[in-house]
Amino acid sequence: MTAIRRNGLGLLAWLTGIVFFLPIAWMALTSFHSEADAATNPPSFAASLTLDGYREFFGSGGGPSPWPALVNSTVASVVSTLCVLLLALPAAYALSIRPVKKWTDVLFFFLSTKMLPAVAGLLPIYLFARNAGMLDNIWLLVVLYTSMNLPIAVWMMQSFLAEVPVAVIEAARVDGARLPTILARVVAPIALPGIAATALICFIFSWNELLFARVLTGVVAETAPVFLTGFITSQGLFLAKVCAASLVISLPVLAAGFAAQDKLVQGLSLGAVK
């Protein structure tokens, strides 16, 4: 292959990367512009920078404060992720290190629940929540997000725990190590990076979720994506504020996603691709 062609393809890869990233870069730049500079045609690339968009978003202009929504999203995502780990770790153990009979069938049952569209269960869950007085309650979302992410987590953890060699576990057992010691000293060091990636992916999915949050929460328990839906209709000059809001609310996901980059495919493909 000629050097020109190789360089050309490298250049093409760079160009597509930049084109895909451009909307995000533009969003970031616009968030630092004043509202007047943000809404010009042709676009003002070199306008002076200001933090006004961020100040507006955090409620200095008299709008609703995003903090309650950010706190709600954090609670729903972090607590549901912890619940997922608590339920998925023992389950993955019983599907890999000490497998039950027909463990593949069980694994595929978990996967099949992920293929049931969430919207199909929405109405009964709404009716249940209304009758139980659980509407606009963040803990209901914690339960639902746990069920949403549990199958993914079980699949991922199963594949991570299966990487722990059985021979090493047997050797530790022969040496008289008990189960807690084996888990802490043998299994954890090998499986920990995978478990961390699983947690980050569950966090992302919970943080992003809109449909359930939109239907089941109101003013008290609204999450960050629901807060963002307040920007759906135009409100005069508000581009800088929208960009600041979108960026701030996406930051945790961007951070978690880049941290889990190497295991992202495995999580998204439900463990089918390594």
Partner: protein
């Protein structure tokens, strides 16, 4: 298969010694699994059964006393109502369009990123970023910052070349929604296909090259057959996620201009029109559609999975 091979193994000691302890041990093995299993059945399967039951009732939440059993009437209504039929069609168009476009783009990007060049890691990171924007935020970004006819970036860039200044969302509403989803889902496809490319047998490719095979022949006869299952997996998982898409439709067009897909219609018919029975019937139809896709998806995942297990 696993049952026949493991059954005599497990039964042999049980018959000779004490049976209760073997049963106890089996339950001890199963115990760690049970909380997760019971939780999943309670939270995901029971509501669906309830949806199925409700779908056979004529039930408007505003007139709860008039609730009565109607058999398949709701399904008849969903399938004959022009608006609802349109939303079935929209769902198909949206899903197929987004999945195909992002799969083709994702394949092209995966092929570009599979070769070495300076800054490959950085380009990969740039390309993943769109997938890591909160879906509502991404939809807002497209709606207000890119598509806005007066000051959006698209028309701003067109302005430089003296191009037209279209109102993107009004003129091509479904395409506008699709473009934003393709932007978000192309990285997903790229990641899966890149993993597929990197699991190719390099020796086989070298051997083919030594035998004088051209790049195209290697791609056509070695790479593509190897990628087939990764393409299937990407298409099926993408379909499962995009069939359920609510965020983009809700944010960019609010279901207007003929872009309401089934999830949006289900949401609207019970949240705004309070038609519980109809919403449930539409929900059951989404499930039937998903089951068709899911059956294929499960088959692909299980074939990849068996390969992994047998390799280990």
């Amino acid at each position: 298969m696993t049952a026949t091979t493991t059954a005599p193994y497990a039964a042999a000691p049980a018959r000779t010694s004490k049976q209760p302890s073997a049963r106890l041990r089996a339950w001890a093995t199963r115990a760690p699994l049970l909380p997760a299993l019971v939780f999943m059945i309670a939270v995901t399967q029971l509501p669906f059964v309830a949806t199925l039951v409700i779908s056979f009732f004529d039930w408007n939440a505003l007139y709860p006393k008039a609730r009565h059993f109607t058999g398949l009437d709701n399904y008849h209504q969903v399938l004959t109502d022009a608006g609802l039929r349109h939303s079935v069609w929209t769902t198909v168009l949206l899903t197929v369009g987004v999945v195909l476009a992002s799969l083709v783009l994702g394949l092209a990007l995966a092929l570009l990123l599979d070769r070495r060049f300076r800054g490959r890691g950085l380009v990969r990171t740039l390309l993943i970023a769109p997938f890591l924007v909160v879906p509502v935020a991404a939809a807002l970004l497209w709606k207000h910052v890119l598509y806005n006819p007066e000051y959006g970036l698209l028309n701003g860039l067109l302005h430089y070349v003296g191009g037209p200044q279209p109102d993107w969302i009004s003129h091509t509403p479904l395409l506008a929604v699709e473009a934003s989803l393709v932007w978000q889902w192309t990285p997903f496809m790229m990641l899966i296909l890149l993993a597929g490319l990197q699991s190719r047998d390099q020796q086989q490719i070298e051997a083919a090259r030594v035998d004088g095979a051209s790049d195209w022949q290697i791609f056509r006869h070695l790479t593509l057959p190897h990628l087939r299952r990764y393409l299937e997996l990407g298409a099926l998982l993408g379909s499962i996620y995009i069939v359920q898409n609510f965020d983009a439709v809700f944010t960019i067009t609010s279901g207007g201009l003929g872009t309401a897909n089934l999830p949006y219609t289900v949401y609207q018919s019970f949240y705004q029109a309070h038609e519980n029975g109809l919403a449930s019937a539409a929900g059951v139809l989404v499930v039937i559609g998903s089951i068709v896709i899911a059956t294929f998806a499960l088959r692909v995942v299980s074939s990849l999975f068996r390969e992994e297990v047998s390799r280990a």
